[in-house]
Amino acid sequence: MIEFDDVTITYADQSAPVLAHVNLRIPEGELVLVVGRTGSGKSTLLSAVNGLVPHFTGGTLQGRVLVDGRDTAHHAPRDLADLVGVVPQDPMSGFVTDTVEDELAYGMECLGLAPDIMRRRVEETLDLLGLADIRQRPLRTLSGGQRQRVAIGAVLAAHPRILVLDEPTSALDPGAAEEVLAALQRLVHDLGVTVLMAEHRLERVVQYADQVIIVPGGGAPVIQGSPAEVMQHAPIAPPVVELGRLAGWDPMPLSVRDARRAAGSLRDLLVGQQPRLRVVTDSRVETVRTSRLGVRYGSHPALRGVDITIHDGEIVALMGRNGAGKSTLLNALVGVGPTRTGDVLIKDRDPAALGDAELIDTVGLVPQEPADLLEATSVAEECRIADRDARCEPGTTRALLALMAPEILDGTHPRDLSEGQRLLLVLCLILAARPPLLLLDEPTRGLDYPTKTRLARVLADLAAAGHAIALATHDVELVAEIADRVIILAEGEVVADGSTSDVVMSSPMFAPQVAKILSPQEWLTVGQVEHALARLPEPEVGAG
């Protein structure tokens, strides 16, 4: 269905090719997963399938890309639209119309389908993706999962035979992600659609894939193979595979179900062992307390009667569906957004009443788009500005950055940093003023595993240094790794507030893979299991 024939892609302003000598054959009706680090050329590979590279992006493409026999060199993306449907990373950025129904029809209008066929297909698509209830709704008002499903539906209604998706679940809560993946699987199984999908969250998708393509980046050769085979040695792997490697399982299980079958002996080994917990400073000094906090957007209440407390040195994860009020809560904690009711006190001060300069001494927020905070043309300049804003010793921010991300150079333009590096830079800018409370909104969206590991380490260090940290996230694996406490929000109310293991163990939605595999034992991460196994031979020695 899709053939890459010795393809080399070089962008106009770069000397080295993004992809070099790529040879791929993707047969019809397969679900193919494309993995690789941020900036490795995954998106380029995907965009080459419908000719957006090089028709839209510029640059040169050597070799040949054949899609169902059509050469992308001679066919513009619009001429491949009946064959290839592309769902962009941020669905909102690709929406052309205002409402769900119009958006579903748009592609078909462009292809010139007859009105009666369009009517029928819109109805079919609404049913297939479960969008019938929201057909009249303006796209803007949809939740992340709904938007993603609309974006898929909008492409699907035109009946393309190939579907290309760039990180379809990265912005979604676990429930919405499963919805989207279930819809995709149905397409592959029932309609024989070929799906090509890039995704960082392997734990969510690898079990569904028929094939995995690894794009190592830097022009290194692309690897294609069956998931089990590729996952044995892949540099990036979901927890289930890491656990499998640790336990030496063969064949490598890819789903929780397969892993549970293989895990009997591991569970026996671990009987009587206790997971090691992160040492939490026991100060119990309150950093922030809210009481009866409420926020409304127009007539829609986004938060209702929220009472939470966070202590110094604690890492708290805010979880919940898209639109449950996580971001609104973080915004209210820094005193931005619509007027609130109730009280917020950070170290006995109300953030909304603080002056601009005082605010950053009290609380720092890394927003969902960290790049919003960047304004200078070089990293060094950015750090200088942060020093000045925070009224601290010149060089403080730069030193902090050197500690967190030593590889970032002074002269680099912030835009040229990778997503993870940019996040760390913004984190440093915020930390310059040493706010006792640090907030992060969806910090791991679009981050690959190595970057995530690094972020987790940085956050743990900051908590150890006494910062209280709250992060809103959908990433259950990250939460299992670093959070001391989890607060779950639903419809603007707190529905659960307790220690990480208590809250996530009891929830099928928020439990990490390791917990699912080893339940009823209470393990959360591969690290805990590894640590416990290492102590096994001499149980009496080396308790630290």
Binding site: F56, S93, T97, A105, C110, G112, L359
Partner: protein, 368 residues
């Protein structure tokens, strides 16, 4: 009136352009303020809860700036009318070889009024356009634009999403500035936000254009390349002819043939080109917005107000031109008032929006 649905965006534009045309025919401040009030009333009643629906306020502010700038220019540069001095500023007259322009000098009431009336007229025209912007869904309007012009179509969609997104971006960056402990108001804050905002908007525009292309926007039938060149050529020629024709029409002393006939010929061939290239398009419409009674009523209201004002101005009806020398309180011509009232009926004759698109928060945005 009638069931809840979207009014055809073309009807809103006809109505708003009619209002703007009416405004351009008068300098009577009372009539102009009445037109602004009608625009505000209709926007308030029928604008959707969407990014572009909120843009009206910005047009009001823009109108205010236009008035102030126009008055300042009048007073500081061309202060030559009237006798009632209300403020004595030092002034210099530039030498003869610099056209003898006067800078500064006496501020006279008549001159101020003249600037105000003229500025108000310009502001009203802008606000009427702003009303259309806020009432008519740009994406729905695009559905009605002939699809024959691929590049034009893409640029229109991109441009239309540009402004509302820009406004949203400014808000986001204001938040971002607060997070870094900066002032969020004042000229420096705005200047600092300008570049990232423009960058973001440009990036999004490119993404949107790519998405439209990926979904097949602008696909053509087979024998298109030659035809496309033909239509593009015809369109260009037509537009050039229309431009020359317009020039011939408005400038005295050009040959009669250069006026109206050339304009008609030019416009004709441009329209022909669009229609012809539209034929090779494969595009179809999904549930197009109907053009029925409400559309007729709304656009008729706009055309009527334009017609009444034009005739009134042409026949020299008193009160259409406000007198500033001597400054007198303007009278209100009844016929024009009736026209304004007819324009206001759009607030009622247009069908209400679907419930999900109605404005949630009732913001009071009246007054310029």
């Amino acid at each position: 009136m009638g069931e809840a649905r979207w009014l055809h965006p073309g009807a809103w534009w006809i109505w708003a352009l009619g209002m703007a045309a009416a405004a351009s025919r008068t300098t009577n401040p009372l009539l102009l303020i009445a037109l602004i009030a009608v625009a505000a009333l209709v926007v308030h009643a029928r604008r959707p809860d969407a990014p572009w629906g909120r843009s009206f306020r910005f047009f009001l502010q823009l109108g205010l700036i236009v008035i102030v700038v126009r008055m300042a220019v009048q007073v500081l540069l061309v202060s030559s009318v009237g006798t009632t001095t209300i403020l004595d500023l030092p002034g210099i007259t530039l030498p003869e070889w610099l056209a003898g322009i006067r800078i500064g000098g006496d501020v006279r009431l008549e001159s101020l009024l003249m600037g105000f009336y003229d500025g108000l007229r310009l502001a009203t025209i802008l606000i009427c356009i702003g009303a259309a912007n806020s009432l008519a869904s740009p994406t729905r309007l695009l559905k009605s634009v002939p699809a024959g012009l691929y590049e034009l179509g893409v640029s229109i969609v991109v441009a239309l999403t540009f402004t509302p997104q820009l406004v949203a971006d400014v808000e986001r960056l204001k938040t971002a500035r607060r997070l870094r402990g900066r002032r969020t108001t004042g000229p420096r804050a705005i200047a600092a936000a300008a570049i990232p905002v423009l960058e973001g908007a440009l990036e999004r525009s490119v993404t949107l254009a790519a998405a439209m292309d990926s979904r097949g926007y602008g696909r053509r039938g087979p024998e298109s390349a030659r035809r496309r060149r033909g239509t593009t050529g015809l369109l260009l020629l037509g537009l050039v002819a229309a431009c020359i024709g317009t020039y011939g029409l408005v400038s005295a002393g050009s040959p009669a043939l250069m006026g109206l006939p050339l304009l008609v010929l030019g416009l004709g061939s441009a329209v022909g080109a669009v229609v012809w290239s539209g034929r090779s398009q494969v595009r179809t419409r999904y549930r197009p917005d109907p053009w029925s009674l409400p559309e007729w009523l709304v656009s008729a209201a706009g055309v009527t107000v334009a017609g009444i004002f034009t005739v009134a101005a042409w026949s020299g009806m008193s009160g259409m031109v406000a007198s500033f020398d001597p400054p007198t309180w303007p009278s209100l011509p009844l016929a024009a008032l009736i026209g304004v009232a007819i324009a206001a009926t759009a607030a009622v004759t247009a069908p209400p929006l679907p419930r999900s698109m109605r404005m949630q928060r009732e913001l009071v945005e009246v007054g310029a």
